[in-house]
């Protein structure tokens, strides 16, 4: 589903990714772990198409298509979803209004009939309940004044509504207490499906206690330096990145 080959990318002109290879198949959940500054967020932004991140070499194929040739919204409409590490506050834009706009944009793209207000209400009520999101949050402006946990649950709700084919979760576990972590983890597990792939980007192993990945990759200085099964995450937990001979480049 996702094939990344020899990816080199710069952020604001600075090289961050230096020959990254990654293959993710449908039905798989991959964890990408790495110390601060290893390029985890850059990888997620390059996949989503954020401005300011330039690919200088290499390729990303998504379902056989050249992902890098697609606009941000084309990627989203084709089923790529990024759960943000720092969801953006949009003052004055009601959460429910925005969700309906996004869901209907996707339905229209797929040639399906757009939901009317009642149909959408039913859909969102069902998805909300699973994530423990109350109705009050829906009436507030998008992410404005949300706590860290609320923002992350809100990202999970969007993922559930948009039902992506490829989901990239950028440090969705950061800043969560254990209860919120469990909610987020069950949100992710509930989305596991044979036709869907997920890439869980994380610094810590603790989310992986609840979401058991099919594969774990260690990112360092913009390259995948180790790959393995879920036991690699446990090894990292025991020995730390330093135990693998990896330093946080932010700390270096």
């Amino acid at each position: 589903m996702l094939t990344i080959e020899n990816l080199h990318a710069t952020a604001d002109g600075k090289p961050i990714l230096n020959g990254l290879d990654l293959q993710v198949n449908a039905g798989e959940v991959h964890a990408v772990m790495g110390p601060n500054g290893s390029g985890k967020s850059t990888l997620s932004y390059v996949i989503a198409g954020r401005e300011g991140y330039e690919v200088t070499q290499g390729s990303i194929a998504y379902q056989g298509q050249d992902l890098l040739a697609m606009s941000v919204e084309e990627r989203a409409l084709s089923g790529v979803f990024l759960a943000f590490q720092y969801p953006v506050e949009i003052p004055g834009v009601g959460s429910a209004t925005f969700f309906k706009t996004a869901v209907n944009a996707a339905r229209k793209h797929r040639g399906e009939k757009e939901y009317d207000a009642m149909e959408f209400l039913k859909l969102i009520r069902e998805k909300r309940a699973a994530l423990g999101i109350d109705d009050g949050m829906m009436r507030r402006a998008l992410n404005v004044g949300f706590s860290g946990g609320e923002k992350k649950r809100n990202e999970m709700l969007q993922m559930a509504l948009l039902e992506p084919t490829l989901a990239i979760l950028d440090e969705t576990d950061s800043g969560l207490d254990i209860d919120a972590l469990k909610v987020v983890a069950s949100g992710i597990n509930g989305m596991r499906a044979p036709e869907r792939a997920m890439v869980v980007i994380t610094h810590y192993q603790r989310l992986l206690d609840h979401v058991v990945p099919d594969k774990v990759h260690v990112l360092s200085s913009g390259r995948i330096v180790r790959s393995g099964g879920s036991e690699l995450a446990l090894e990292l937990e025991r020995s730390g990145y330093a135990g693998l001979g990896l330093e946080s480049s932010a700390a270096a």
Binding site: S71, L82, P87, P91, G92, F98, A105
Partner: protein
């Protein structure tokens, strides 16, 4: 000879306009008009005056105005009513004069009185004198001088003490210019009695193209503990000049809120002066402006904290596209004795084009030592982070931008308590965005 602080302004119809004014021969009115003529004879304010630094009336001065025809237009000639979903009394002025056939203000609720100015001067001049004669709005307000000299009509809206008026009083000013430029100077007097509640909805509108000049003066007094909500929608055509002055005086414990949505006219200036006369009063000035093409929109406010323990909140937000220009001048004066004043001012502008411009000028003059006063201003293009976030959910650039702009303006409208009024303004904002992005 005119000084350099004024632009010579030949108002050729002024003789004809003055001759046709109602109430001629009433000594107090003659005196007020004479004073207005004397002060306006020098011309229009020039950009050498600090208060007019960013707004040039030179193009207005170049127009040759005709006196508005006395006859009003037929129903079909008025555009659709922006507030047709809003109940309550409504006064319609066409080219500055009351159109009785379009207006509905009989059978008023208990405690509310409305007098049309020209009618009132004919029927009961003493009553009008009691309300208008005492006002002296001319000191230092050049446009008020024109209004005093040439106001032909307008109205008085008054509530008795304790009256709670449910539905807003609507004032609709429609420009119906013919071949020649026309000018009108409506005078509105609002007196909210102690402890009363009143909402006022002004709408200024007109067709595109033909030049016109509307120069309304709205003179407001909010009585002790009274609550006045004052909404204004300005949607005149691009040939229009709009120079409005609202002067509000607040008694102790009064609450005054102003909600402006300025979308129209080629050049518009919305000037609001608020003076606190009694303690524990508060005012909220909220203004939205959206301009495109070569429109110029000026919001100038002066809040005079003359007494202690009052609160003022000011939020002006706007969106400018193409080569449109915005001006925000916010002066807050806290006098020596006005301790415990709490004042805050904010001006935020979204610039949709690199050629759009906003000049923002806060002026805090604080002479008391125990006050809270702050101001802030931002201007810039829509945030890339916000656009990216929305696009990453499948919204195209246009839809994402429209949502951001609508949200930006929607924060202002959300403060309007009367739902049909808020909805009517929201429709205008959405229409503007639909045309812009």
């Amino acid at each position: 000879m005119a000084s350099r602080r004024t632009i010579p302004f030949d108002y050729p119809a002024s003789g004809a306009i003055a001759a046709a004014l109602p109430g001629a021969g009433l000594p107090w009115l003659d005196a007020l008009r004479a004073e207005g003529r004397r002060l306006s004879a020098d011309g229009l304010p020039s950009t050498r005056l600090e208060a007019w630094k960013y707004t040039s009336l030179a193009p207005l001065a170049a127009l040759e105005f005709a006196a508005p025809a006395a006859d009003s237009v037929a129903e079909a000639d008025l555009g659709p009513d922006a507030f047709d979903a809003v109940d309550g009394p409504s006064l319609v002025f066409v080219n500055g004069r009351l159109s009785a056939s379009h207006s509905r203000f009989d059978a008023l609720p208990q405690g509310l009185r409305i007098v049309a100015l020209a009618e009132g001067l004919a029927d009961d001049p003493a009553q009008v004198e009691a309300l208008v004669g005492g006002t002296a709005p001319l000191n230092g307000d050049p446009m008020a001088a024109f209004n005093a000299a040439f106001a032909a009509d307008g109205c008085i809206v008054e509530t008795e003490p304790g009256a709670e008026v449910q539905e807003p009083v609507r004032l609709r000013f429609v420009a119906a210019p013919g071949g020649e430029p026309l000018a009108y100077h409506p005078r509105v007097i609002v007196r909210a009695g102690a402890g009363s509640r009143l909402a006022l909805v002004e709408c200024h509108e007109g067709p595109g193209g033909a030049p016109s000049w509307s120069n309304p003066l709205v003179d407001v007094r909010v009585g002790e503990g009274a609550v006045l909500s004052h909404v204004k929608l300005q949607i005149e055509g691009e040939g229009a000049y709009h120079t409005a002055l609202t002067k509000a005086a607040l008694a102790g414990g009064a609450h005054y809120e102003s909600h402006l949505l300025a979308l129209g006219a080629g050049l518009a200036r919305h000037e609001i002066h608020v003076r606190f006369d009694g303690e524990d009063a508060d005012c909220q000035l909220r203004g939205g402006y959206m301009a495109r093409g070569s429109q110029h929109v000026d919001n100038t406010t002066v809040i005079d904290h003359a007494v202690p323990h009052c609160e003022s909140r000011e939020v002006y937000k706007g969106v400018l596209d193409d080569t449109a220009r915005g001006v925000f001048q916010g002066r807050i004066v806290v006098r020596k004795d006005a301790q415990k004043t709490d004042g805050h001012q904010l001006n935020r502008t979204l610039l949709l084009s690199p050629k759009a411009e906003i000049d923002t000028k806060p002026e805090l003059e604080i002479y008391a030592d125990d006050v809270k006063c702050s101001h802030g201003a931002t201007a810039g293009e829509p945030e890339a982070d916000q656009l990216f976030y929305l696009r990453s959910r499948g919204l195209d650039h246009r839809t994402a931008l429209a949502l951001i702009v609508e949200g930006f303006m929607g924060e202002l409208l959300g403060e309007i308590g009367h739902e049909p009024v808020r909805a009517a303004l929201a429709v205008r904002v959405a229409d503007w965005i639909g045309d812009a992005v």
